[in-house]
């Protein structure tokens, strides 16, 4: 077992092999022969209607549920063979819909739980707490000593995310983390999560039944239906090449205008080539619909994609958009 702050280097990819889960007294397995591999640093969304098994699957990765058969490997090592459960969980961040902050602890104490379990020195833990609060846009001076009950739901879940990141885990599990939060705050939190992930490159498994959220956040989506894996693909592929009627209906693949609103510019932009001068900047997180609108308005033949600074990342044209969605 490795120790200290470099866990993320060791822990990364996840592989699920032939996962089956049958709950006692149930005829149909809750999960049936689930196989997929997640690369280190990928943001994977488990998507499906309620009862499809997505939460059960997620909770197997930190062993809150045990599979009936099958194996889960993290960085090539089975989590069921000789690995201590609490040790495993301390190396995996965990965020739940009900947030579950400890009401008797301050924000700082909540975030410091895993560092304490990992026996980090006090100075390092304090620094970490402040840095994480900064990362989730809660100024430490103002929020460190607050209690959860003194914050809004959105702020509490920011703390929830910070707490999950505290031990610097390589893997983060998120179980409908924004499900109970109002729509406007939810968008804020999604943006914040995307920004964080761009910096931290954690391997994230994120459960949701909200298709828009899945398409917005995911590098790849696992579509589950009645305990089976239906499709494992990028958001764009899921929209443009849905595997069956269930997926088509789930993501509304027939509705092109809606799709334009859900796919981020950075997912379809063309790489930067030397001869293209920078003009008409658009942020990488903007939707294709925004890009299209901008192209029409500006009468330009392309837009330069940026990350908010002046640094160009790529460019996007009418053709890119048409090819991606059409």
């Amino acid at each position: 077992m490795n120790s200290g702050g470099h866990l993320s280097i060791f822990m990364s990819g996840i592989r699920l092999e032939k996962i089956v889960k049958t709950f006692p007294g149930m005829k149909r397995p809750a999960l049936n022969d689930i196989n997929f591999t997640v690369q280190s640093g990928e943001f994977i969304v488990l998507l499906g209607p309620s009862g499809c098994g997505k939460t059960t699957l997620l909770k197997m990765v930190n062993r809150l549920y045990e599979p009936t058969s099958g194996d889960i490997l993290i960085d090539g090592e089975s989590i069921f063979n000789g690995m201590d459960v609490t040790e495993l969980r301390r190396r995996i961040g965990y965020v739940i819909q009900q947030i579950g902050l400890f009401p008797h602890m301050t924000v700082a104490q909540n975030i410091a739980v895993v560092p304490h379990l990992l026996k980090w020195p006090e100075g390092k833990t304090n620094e970490r707490v402040d840095r994480l609060l900064d990362m989730v846009a809660l100024p430490p001076d103002e929020y460190r000593e607050r209690y959860p009950a003194q914050m809004s739901g959105g702020q509490q879940q920011r703390v929830g995310v910070a707490r999950a990141l505290a031990g610097d885990p390589g893997v983060i599990l998120m179980d409908e983390p924004f499900g109970a939060i109002d729509a406007i705050t939810r968008t804020d939190l999604q943006d914040a999560l995307l920004r964080l992930q761009r910096r931290l490159r954690k391997t994230i498994l994120f459960v949701t039944h909200d298709v828009d959220e899945a398409l917005r956040l995911a590098d790849k989506i696992v579509v589950l239906h009645e305990g089976r894996l239906v499709q494992f693909d990028t958001p764009l592929k899921i929209l443009t090449e849905p595997k069956n009627d269930f997926v088509t209906e789930l993501v509304g693949a027939d509705d092109v205008v809606r799709q334009l609103g859900l796919v981020r510019v950075e997912k379809v932009m063309a790489p930067l080539s030397a001869h293209v001068p920078t003009k008409n900047l658009i942020h990488r997180d903007k939707s294709l619909r925004a890009a299209l609108s901008e192209l029409v308005k500006s009468k330009a033949d392309y837009l330069t994609v940026s990350d908010g600074s002046q640094r160009p990342l790529g460019f996007i044209t009418f053709d890119n958009i048409r090819d991606a969605i059409g």
Partner: protein
């Protein structure tokens, strides 16, 4: 001489005895409370985790509640004789129900999401119990202790009737001699002790209660 003056004079005249009686009273009360805590807190944690045990144990203990305190004291005499031990056992039986019932309720009502988060973060069951569940249950357990201590401080007065001393001595004596002033020398300190315990425990409760309302620090 007025009743108050008479009471005051009697108290001044029996200071040593009063002091001893107060100490005996406190000894009775604290022993009974401590034994109840040692028995009922672990028992309450246990019952909170299993429905079946809870029904059995809690109904059993609640059954004891309907027996009047005086009856419990006298019921013990044939088995244990008279004296301090008997009184402590009887008072312990009185103190147990509120502590057990509140401990059980406190642990039962902890938000399951909080426990799941704790487990998911890699706390051991022991760490979850002591770092999460106990601190959260404590305010409710304290309410039980408050109820129990009020009951025990008052009932300990009756212990004098089975020969175990305490402030009940004066009550008993005053009653036997038809002298209310002597009775008050016992009754007033009992009332003061009850008040003191109430104030002490409720302020303790305020200190350990985590903030629940959305107030800005």
């Amino acid at each position: 001489m007025s009743l108050a003056q008479e009471t005051w004079a009697y108290a001044l005249g029996h200071l040593d005895e009063l002091q001893q009686a107060t100490l005996d009273h406190l000894l009775l009360v604290t022993s009974a409370l401590l034994i109840s805590l040692f028995v009922c807190i672990p028992l309450g944690v246990w019952t909170s985790r299993s429905r079946g045990t809870a029904n059995f144990v809690i109904n059993g203990i609640n059954g004891v509640r309907v027996i009047p305190s005086l009856a419990i004291l006298f019921l013990m005499v044939p088995y244990m004789g008279v004296g301090l031990d008997t009184a402590v056992v009887a008072l312990t039986i009185l103190a147990m129900p509120p502590i057990l019932v509140n401990t059980d309720a406190a642990f039962r009502t902890i938000d399951p999401a909080v426990k799941e988060a704790a487990a998911g973060m890699g706390m051991t069951p022991r760490q979850i119990l002591f770092k999460v569940e106990f601190p959260l249950a404590l305010p409710v357990i304290l309410t039980g202790i408050r109820t129990a201590s009020t009951e025990v401080i008052a009932s300990a007065t009756l212990a004098a009737f089975i020969g175990s001393g305490g402030l009940g001595l004066f009550v008993q004596r005053g009653y036997a001699m038809y002298r209310p002033s002597i009775l008050f020398v016992g009754a007033i300190p009992v009332a003061l002790l009850t008040l003191a315990a109430e104030i002490l425990l409720s302020s303790l409760q305020r200190v350990i209660q985590p903030p629940t309302a959305a107030k800005t620090a």
